[in-house]
């Protein structure tokens, strides 16, 4: 059996104000696997995801693509994780979509011409070439999400991490995103409140409660067990 692309053991984190956020997380994600993360607000989902990109650091062992996460390996690890933030406005900080997509390659040492070539290639793949020279704040929520995803995919990550990807999206936008995610070959970790969306993009789900993984299994079974549906 191949090594998991994400291997987390005993992860614990307490916020600076003393609030415990993660209380010993053990989690593995296989290559190409998609897992939905369900759980109430404040259950630790986002804190867990931020750990995977080394954006906050707790206690425990984290290995991304076989590389242990340390200060020395931070750049390599971030090259393997593609993090799509909940609010695309956080992620789209450059003046134009093209420049934003090229930001990652450019800042990981690629020369400008190659960065631009890859940026053009990925926005063409995602069908947003017509937005290349638009300012991000002119875009619709769906277009912003695609632009943010392009900025992540251009780095060719092994794992894609999505934090509440359907926030701000209308139903057609959610459908569009679900189709797009299902077509991507990378392993995916998707934190969401939407069980229907989770079912479309993942077979397995983990349920976070009070900083722990309280359940792990097929999406339907986990949602049933924790009554995670609308009445």
């Amino acid at each position: 059996m191949s090594l998991p692309v994400i291997d987390v053991r005993g992860l614990q984190y307490t916020y600076p104000d003393g609030t415990p956020a993660l209380r010993g997380i053990d989690f593995q994600l296989a290559a190409g696997e998609s897992v939905a993360i369900l759980g109430a607000n404040g259950s630790g989902k986002t804190t867990f995801l931020l750990h995977l990109a080394g954006l906050i650091r707790g206690d425990g062992d984290l290995r991304i693509g076989g590389i242990p996460l340390t200060d020395d390996t931070l750049t390599d690890v971030r090259g393997k994780i593609g993090y799509v933030f909940q609010d695309s406005d956080d992620q789209l900080f450059m003046p134009t979509v093209l420049e934003d997509v090229a930001f990652g390659p450019l800042h990981t040492g690629m020369d400008p011409a190659e960065s631009l070539r890859r940026a053009h290639e990925i926005i063409a793949t995602l069908g947003i070439s017509h937005l290349a020279n638009r300012a991000p704040y002119h875009l619709s929520a769906g277009e912003k999400k695609r632009a943010a995803l392009a900025g992540v995919l251009v780095m060719k990550p092994e794992v894609l991490v999505f934090d509440e990807p359907t926030t701000f999206l209308d139903p057609p936008g959610q459908n569009d995103l679900a189709r797009l995610l299902s077509a991507l070959p990378q392993a995916k970790l998707i934190a969401t409140h939407d069980v229907y969306f989770a079912r479309r993009v993942a077979k397995r789900a983990v349920f976070f409660a009070d900083g722990r993984i309280a359940g792990d299994g097929p999406v339907e079974a986990v949602a049933d067990r924790f009554h995670w549906r609308l009445d």
Binding site: L50, A53, L55, T75, R78, G79, I81, Y83, F85, D87, D89, D90, Q91, F93, M94, P95, T96, E99, A102, F103, G104, L106, H107, T108, P112, S115, L116, N133, A135, Y137, H138, G151, V152, M155
Partner: protein, 245 residues
């Protein structure tokens, strides 16, 4: 917000000024501002040749002149206020008029620069002229996130109006100030959270403190010619009133 979006739209034009390197335009505007600010403080007519130069640049830019003049008039209340104070204190109307004219002309020059130069090029120009990377990045983030903060502020205002139908402030001025200060604190908190989110996003995509430019700029012979001509014209416009009989 509408103003900056309109400038963005204008900046995508194709006039002779649009096609110039941002550095040439930045230096020219800097010289223009120096000329404006060094005119005699009580001689508004000395600004006429400089204003004529601005009119020529405006014509070359092919921007809608009246709209630019009106939109830039947003800066006028401040110099008019200080001009009035000065007039009331010293009784010198020429000084007040020159103060207003200089402020307006300076604002027009900056608005014209932004109207003929896309923001990314303007920032690259600043960087190429030796402005520290961190300052350029702060400027870029400021322009970018000013839009989001204004959006936040508008949403908060709508939410407040929905709850008291706008009646409360009219009845109670103290309550207005109390609410405004509370809203500012919330806005600051949200802006801080936004900044943290952006910083996380930058780190997650490989940012390590140095800002790399995608387009190395090229300063051509045309830019040199423009710079030399504009410097000469600005110097003549500035000195003409002093040598005139």
């Amino acid at each position: 917000m509408g103003h900056s979006l309109r400038l963005d739209e204008w900046a995508r034009g194709a006039s002779v000024l649009h096609r110039l390197d941002a550095r040439a335009k930045l230096i020219s505007v800097l010289l223009f501002l120096i000329a404006v600010s060094t005119t005699p403080p009580a001689a508004p007519l000395a600004l006429l040749p400089i204003a004529a130069l601005f009119a020529l640049a405006l014509a070359l830019s092919a921007l809608p002149a009246m709209e630019l003049l009106l939109r830039t008039a947003i800066v006028l209340p401040f110099p008019v206020f200080f001009g009035l104070i000065s007039w009331l204190q010293n009784g010198n109307s020429s000084f007040a008029a020159a103060l207003v004219a200089r402020s307006y002309l300076s604002a027009l020059a900056v608005a014209l620069l932004m109207g003929v130069t896309p923001l990314p090029e303007l920032l690259r120009g600043l960087r190429a002229l030796g402005v520290p990377a961190v300052l350029v990045m702060v400027l870029q983030s400021l322009v970018r996130y000013l839009q989001l903060v204004v959006d936040h502020a508008l949403r908060m205002r709508r939410a407040a109006l929905c709850r008291d139908a706008g009646a409360l402030p009219r009845r109670n001025r103290q309550s207005l100030w109390h609410r405004a200060s509370g809203a500012l604190a919330v806005l600051f908190g949200r802006s801080y959270a936004r900044a943290e989110g952006v910083h996380h996003a930058m780190l997650a995509r490989g940012f390590r403190g140095d800002f790399v430019s995608l387009h190395p700029a090229a300063f051509t012979a045309r830019d040199w010619r423009f710079l030399a001509l504009s410097a000469l014209a600005i110097a003549l416009a500035r000195l003409a009133p002093q040598v005139a009989p």
